[in-house]
Every structure is written in C-alpha cells, then in structure tokens.
Amino acid sequence: MDQSTVKTKRFDRFDLSWGFWVKVALMALINALGVYGLLAAWAAESYLTLAVVLVTLIIADVIYFSRRFIPAKYLFPGLAFLLVYQVFVMGYTGFVSFTNYGTGHNSTKADAITQILAQHQKRVPGSPTINTTVVEKNDKLSLAIWDAEKKAVLVGNMQHPLTLVEGAKANDKAITEVPGYQVLKFADLVKRQQEVAGLKAPLTDDPNDGFYVTTDGTKGFLAKSDFRYDEEKDELLDTTNNVVYQPNGEGAFADPEGNTIMPGWRVPVGFANYTNMAHGSDLAWPFFNALVWSFIFAIFSVVSTFAFGLLLALVFHDKRIRGRKIYQSLFILPYAFPAFLSTLVWKGMLNTKFGFINEVLLGGAEIPWLTNGTLAKVSILGVNLWLGFPYMFLICLGALQALPEDIMEAAKIDGAGPIRTLFSVKLPLILVSTMPLLIASFAFNFNNFSLIYMLTGGGPNYPGASLPVGETDILISMVYKIAFEGGSQNYGLASALSILIFLVVGVISYFGLKRSNAMGED
C-alpha cells in the first residue's frame, strides 16, 4: 500500500517536470519570437504592430508563468489567433470601408509627397556619378551609396531616407558587404531590372533635399525634383510653370482648375463608398443585379438541393431495399470529390464548342451554357445541384430515420395517404430538425465564391463597365474583382461591399441560431 503511493507520487513528479520543461521550452521560443518581432516592428517603424506584439507577449507570460488563470492557459492561443485574424480583420474591413484606400491612395500623405517629388526629379547639374549597390532585406530593395565625404556607406529607399550603416565594406569599385542586408548579385539585378531602375533614396526626411537615383544599380547620381513641397502652406509648387497644387480634401493635390497629381493618400471619405454602391457610379446597376442574383442563387440552391436530397432520401428510406449502403456511398461521390476540382471539370464539360454536354449528350448543339447570361445562371444552379444534393440527402436520411414510428402509424390510422403523410407530418418534422443546416447552407451559398469564380468568372461581363463585373457575379465575387482585378484596386469600396454581406449573413445566421438553440444548453 505504502509502496504503491510512493510509486505514483514519483511518477507524478516526473510527469509534471517533463510537462514543465516542455512549457519552458515553448515559452522560451515564444518569447524569442516576440522579442524578434518587437525589434523588427521597431525597425520597420510599425508602432501598432509593436504595441500588439508587446501586449500579447506580456499577457502570454503572465498567464503561463502564474499559477492562477488556469482557464486562460487553455483559451489564450485560440483567442489570440481569433482576435488578430478574425476580429481585427473584421474591424479593419469596417475601417477601410470608410476610406478611399486603393490604387493611388495606398499610403500616407508624407509618402505621397515623396512619391510625387521622386517622379518628377531631374539630375542636379554637375552632380558627380557615384558607385551604388543594390541591397535587399525582407525581399525589399534598397540603394546603398558610398559617401566620399563621410567615408561611409549610406543605405535608403523610398520609405527610409539614406542612413549611415556601420561596418559596411567597400572597395573602390563597389560596396561588397552591408550588415543586415544582402548585396544583390548581377544576375539578380538583371532579374529585377524594373524594380532596380525605379530605386530612389531620399537624402533626408525632407524630400525637397533631393534623391539619389540609379538606372542600372551600379551607378547613381543626385537628383532634385521639379516640384517643391512647402510644409507651412501645405502646398506643392511645380517650379517649371509655377502652378500651385493644394490638397483637395479627397486625398490628392489639385491645382486651381481641379487637375490632380497622383499618387494621393488615404483619407476618410465617410459613407461615400456606400452611397456609390447605391447610385452615382457605373457600378450601381451591376451591384443591384449582383445583390438580387446572390439571393436568387442562394435560395434556389438550397431549395433545389434540399428537394432533390429529400426526394432521394424518401425513395431510399425503406429497409427492404437491398444494397442501400452501396447506393448511399455512390450517391455521395459528388460530395466527396473536392468541389474546386469538380467545378473546373464542369466548366470543361459545359464548354460551348468542345464540351461533353453539347458534343456528346446534345449531339453537337452549340449551346452557350456559360457565355449567355441566362443560361450561365441556369448552369450555375445545375452544377450546384450536382455538388450539393448528396449533403442534403445524407441529412434528410438522418432526419427521416429519427422520425418516431408511432406518429406515422397514427397518421395511417387516421386515414392519411402517403402524400398527405409526407406534407402534413413528415415534412414539418424534418424541416424543424434541418432548418439550422438549411440556413447555414444558405449563408454558405450566398458566399460561394469559388463556384462562381471558377465556373463563369462572373461573366458574361457587362459591356462598358469600368470593372470586369458580369451577369453571374454574386456580391462576394464582385468584392474580389473590385479589390484585386481590373486596372485599379479599390479596397475601400470592396470593404464597404463586404460589410454589406456581413450584415446579410449576420441577420440570417442570427435567425438560424435562434432556431438551432445553440445557447440554450448548459
């Protein structure tokens, strides 16, 4: 008796210390990463990141090195990821939706001024040609120059004016080593020619002082801008024609006639992105169509897959059928086949000229399944039926099996036929148990980006619209196109559209939640 307790205790202690060392190792790793993050954020002058990393690190250390906060030990990792990658991101979507963030407006005003000045630079007359070297850090290029006066190496790029780097090595031809940077070899210079040719490094924080520029990475010279920025008056002067540009309140400099120079900078624009959706821009009409089509698509997808799945479940809900298991595992094939692959396969099969459907099943009819607006919508619904009915079949089969037998008996005794039993007894009961899933399915299809994007790409496109939006675009695919496709990116408008989808999905999930009674337990 005594011996055995001693044994377990010793085992306990061993186990505990083993776990303890794992914890210490993990925390050491996390702290090391955290400190690295702090230094990196400091170097990148990203103070918000710095604050977030610092707070997270302190909280983590307090939680895991204290003997209290036991639940927090278990919640912290998940919540930390959730807060950064879901909650923050949702909030950030809201924030961006009130700005003009996008092409030509993707940075601060100071950056924009530097950019404008750099774009209009000219070589300072008589400035000597010097040796330069291109260096890289974190995939970003910087220009390193040899300052003959200070006998030192300076490194800078558009975001960071030239600063002295200690410990760099140079010979009379080029700079060979810069601590903290990778010196670019000739082959890389050629590969990244365009980036290199655009490299400019401001002399000081004031871009009026000029830039060092290079064309090929190995030689450079000092250049100054035709534009001068007057900080006190907050205006930009074009010295070639003495035109004065002032901030126009929309994140750009404009001359008295209203001509703007790009790039501009990010400014809050209030509800402009939201009102633009409703009217004004040439996106209002496509947007309205996409809104209506999103609803039609999602509702019809849920109804059609559910109806087909239920029908099939009713047909196969009979214990006397031989081989039910085999049928079932064959029926779920479309569900098991990865959706992104089957969508692409359907895209090929629906091709107008060469597709399997037209050529084999319809004997060479050239029906434009994916390129005619109405037919494309029909095709999308058809493909989604194929993709989605097995799921509904499985759910309905489960729901049917859960139905109490005696109720069916009672219905039979009361003289209800099979059809009457189905509509008055079975269907209401099935709907009660599957409603939360149907609502979840609606929310899923409302945002079924990959189906639309892979099958039709949203096309056929509206002629003349400023963006490649088309008749089969749902809201989420429109968000993608506004944010990433077409000539210019408009993150602000895209985010506003995302917020709208959030609202729709939120309202629908709320009702789904109320029905599913997820909070009612415990």
Partner: protein, 294 residues
C-alpha cells in the same frame, strides 16, 4: 431484368408487385448513380488519354495511357500537393489543439467572463472570416514589412489565417462532446493529485478522440478545398496550394492542359474519396453537428 430477379427480397411478392414496391427505387438509384458518376467518368477518361485537350476528350475511354500521370512530375503539381498537405495538416492539428483546449476550459471551469466569452465566440462565428479577405490581404501586406514569414505569399502566414478561424464552430462542436465526459473522472484524478495539464492530456483528450478526429478531418478538408483565401495570400507558383494551382491550369479552357488537369484531379480526389467512404459516418455526424462543406 436478371438483376431485378436476383435482388427481389421476398419470394412472396410477384414481380409486378415487387417493382411497384421496390423495383422503381432501384431504377431511380441507377439513374442517380449515372448522374453522379458521369463527370467523374469523364475526368478519368480524359486523364487516360494521351495529350488530351478539351476538344478530344469527349469519347470516353477510347485510349488508356498513363502518359498524363507521368507528365505530372514535369510540372509543379507534386509541389502543390505537398504544399496543400503541409498547410492542411498543420491547420488541422492546430485547430484540434486550440479548439479542444478552449472546449476544455469552457466545460471544466467556471470563471469570470465565461458566459461573455462563449457569447462572443458565438457572435464572431456568425461572420465567416473568408468574407474579410480584402482586409486579410491588407493585414498581411502590412505584416510583410515586419515579419516576412507571416506576410503575403507565405504559407505559414496562410496557416495562421486559417488558425484564426479555428475557434469558431469547432469549439461548440467539441464543447458539446466534452460535456458528455463525466466530471467525476477528472475530480477523482484531481484528488489523486493530478494537475490540470495531466487531466487534460491524460484523461480528457483520450476520451474525446472521436470528436478530435472529426474536427481535424473537417478542418483538413476545408483548408484543402479553400480557394479564395489561398488565392489572395499565395502569389507565386512555387507557393500555390492545389486549389490555386489547378485553377490556373483550367482557367483558360482553350489552352488548358486538359489531360494533365484530369490526371491531377484524379490523383487528388481518389484519396479523399477513399477517406470519405471509410469515415462516412463520422463526417456525416460532424457535418450535421457543425456546419457545411467549406
């Protein structure tokens, strides 16, 4: 009709009666199987046709050659599969660990802010993370300057994004299951002097293995099939996942390497289908308890 005769279950029924009661169900079953299988047969056939393009793949199983499968190794295909496996496995393991830890805390401890945290999770879960892909892109764009490993075009960055969505519905799925493990078990262990970590790893995690498997599998499948976030985050072909890479192959249907695509699709889908057939029961129960296919 010989098939019908062998299938007739009860000798009492005449053939007509049998058909009226059960036979038509088999008829429908066969039709539905054809409907399910045609696209799959089409892919399989195209994958076996040498140098297939869209034009010439319509006559099913005219040719049986494994040239396309062999040619996959000349492309980035295996690279993409490895990327996908790497990303999805890490996401699945991370999701299971995070969600089970959270579920343990909720089911075993009564602490201040417990109700609030649960409600908060439920609220957040209503808004799919995927909707915020623009902001995710901007966040990773900014992170790239500070932590290149977590920024755009980084697979670790993508895993982190997926882990951000780990807590949502999975916690509730697990929470429900954790509550079925009797509390007396861990109370007894506590009296014996076990620490909370020993109870969690040694007792609870062993008893909830089925739900761990379901959550892991669902998370694996959903990150394996994710297209939009992967497309936004990963930008160079060497980093692509299968979904992004295969999309690019099939994007332009006229020039698409259709035979290669089909072979790739078969290779990618066959393990998934087999897995599905084995784990059907668990997946279905997980789906009905959790959410929908992502």
């Amino acid at each position: 009709m010989s098939k019908a005769k062998t299938l007739a279950p009860q000798p009492k029924l005449s053939w007509g009666q049998w058909f009226k009661e059960l036979g038509w169900r088999h008829l429908i079953g066969v039709l539905v199987i054809i409907y399910c299988a045609v696209p799959l047969a089409y892919v399989l056939s195209a994958s076996l046709k040498k140098n297939a393009n869209l034009t010439g793949s319509n006559k099913l199983f005219q040719e049986v050659s494994f040239a396309n499968y062999a040619r996959l190794s000349e492309t980035d295909y295996w690279h993409w599969i490895l990327n996908s496996l790497f990303i999805s496995s890490f996401t699945a393991v991370g999701t299971v660990l995070m969600a089970s830890a959270a579920a343990y805390a909720f089911s075993r401890y009564r602490f201040r802010g417990r109700e609030a945290t649960l409600t908060f999770l439920l609220l957040v879960q209503m808004f799919p993370q995927m909707l915020a892909f623009v902001a995710l892109f901007l966040l990773l764009l900014a992170l790239k300057d500070v932590f290149p490993v977590l920024g755009l075009n980084s697979q670790i960055g993508l895993i982190c994004v997926y882990l951000g969505g780990a807590l949502g519905s999975n916690t509730f799925l697990m929470y429900g299951f954790f509550k079925t493990v009797p509390k007396e078990l861990d109370e007894a262990a506590r009296i014996d002097g076990a620490s909370h970590a020993q109870i969690f790893w040694g007792i609870i995690m062993r008893l909830v293995t089925p739900v761990l498997a379901v959550v892991g599998l669902l998370s694996f499948i959903s990150s394996f099939g994710d297209f939009v976030i992967a497309k936004v985050v990963l930008q160079t072909p060497d980093k692509f996942t299968l979904a992004v890479g295969m999309y690019n192959w099939a994007a332009d249907s006229r020039t698409a390497p259709w035979g290669l695509f089909a072979a790739g699709a078969v290779v990618a889908a066959v393990p998934v289908i087999i897995l599905f057939q084995f784990l059907q029961r668990y997946i279905v129960s997980g789906l009905t308890a959790g959410g929908v296919k992502g």
